[in-house]
């Protein structure tokens, strides 16, 4: 696989949120607005890139039967660092993402990439993989957040384009499930079209 392929596969072909169906809790929980989706995506990207790099560097000194606890410690420390930095410099975003920041620890995307990729590859490739996966995740979350914000509040990135309220159901829980379901179906269709041409 070329460097570019490693990087780009996370964006559509193996998009973590839309194709691999990983990290669903934050995907649904925080995407009430585009900016929250973007913030959560970038936060997750930070953790997945660094954890991929660190784990690919230390993979050779960790005995096989304790690798999961070791990885969890690394990931949890990164998440705590992220928590502290966010609280210090972007307190408003920190408040609105709330519980879902510590929950990045148990985001299957992070541990999943550590197990499936960083465990077997060198640091540069792992960084690229994390970057691609993080970007794909950010993209999916931002689109989902934007769609829900447009339908639910009549605004995008906080800019109101329709007076009054939107269809509030889309900001509430049911809308999250509905829009994500449609988005995954859309990604299915799109990747079928693109990859059929390649074959």
């Amino acid at each position: 696989m070329s460097k570019f392929q490693i990087f780009s596969k996370g964006i559509l072909k193996e998009n973590p949120a839309l194709v691999l169906i990983l990290g669903m809790c934050p995907t649904l929980g925080v995407t009430t607005s585009a900016i929250n989706g973007l913030g959560m995506g970038v936060a997750t990207m930070f953790v997945v890139v660094l954890s991929n790099i660190i784990i690919s560097l230390i993979k050779n000194i960790i005995p096989n039967n304790v690798h999961i606890p070791a990885y969890i410690v690394v990931i949890a420390s990164l998440v705590t660092i992220l928590q502290l930095v966010m609280e210090a410099y972007v307190p408003a975003l920190y408040d609105s993402l709330g519980l879902f920041i510590p929950l990045i620890v148990v985001n299957c995307l992070v541990l999943g990439r550590a197990e499936a990729f960083a465990n077997k590859n060198n640091a540069i490739d792992s960084a690229l993989d994390g970057l691609g996966m993080g970007l794909g995740f950010t993209l999916a979350l931002t689109v989902l957040g934007a769609a829900r914000e447009m339908l639910g509040s009549g605004s995008i990135f906080g800019l109101k384009f329709i007076e009054g309220d939107g269809i509030i159901g889309f900001v509430l829980a049911p809308g999250a499930f509905l829009v994500l379901g449609l988005l995954i179906a859309g990604a299915n269709l799109l990747s079928k079209k693109i990859y059929k041409k390649e074959e």
């Binding site: 009430t32 960790i62 005995p63 210090a88 509040s153």
Partner: protein, 210 residues
Amino acid sequence: MDKKNPTLLSMVLVLLGIALVCSAGVAAVYNATKPVIDTARQTKKVKTVSKVLPQFDNSPIDEAFTIVSADNDSLLCYPAKSNGETVGYAVSSFSNKGYGGKIEVLVGFLPDGTIFNTEVVSLNETPGLGDKSQKSKSNWAEQFNGKNPESYKLAVKKDGGDVDAITAATITSRAYTGAVELAYKTFMGYIKGAKPEAVSGATQQAEPQN
């Protein structure tokens, strides 16, 4: 090192090493960010307190004291003074009956009990509905300003009060109003009852007899 069949010692050592390095890293970041976080929290507090009070020249946060409600909840009270004279009090109140749980509201009173302003400290209400109780989202909460609860019934109109509820968010409106009412009752209890013992002699003399 044998990755497939490690000895117990090597496993323990590796885990211990990782845990040590990681906690050192976290602790370093904690120490680096602590002053920033503290200032950010402090500024936020000062900002909220100044929003609900008239002009003052003291430091309400340093002079804060607790007042106790009828149900034995202790609320923080921030006195605002201008040229040594008390111009208002901010009472940090709450309600557990919000749609998403607890709502914390800071309520500013003039010394006679008139509501000067209110401000949400924290809430977890539904975006697009209950979160309209925040000043940044809608001007709903401004209806409390300038009202004296003596002649203004602190309850939503559905419950026979004078407060207009947020459309489709009666629960949030009820909780917010409840928090304001708790602040008012506790504050009045403090002003009428405990005050003569609680303040220093100088202010006590200036106190009107009622």
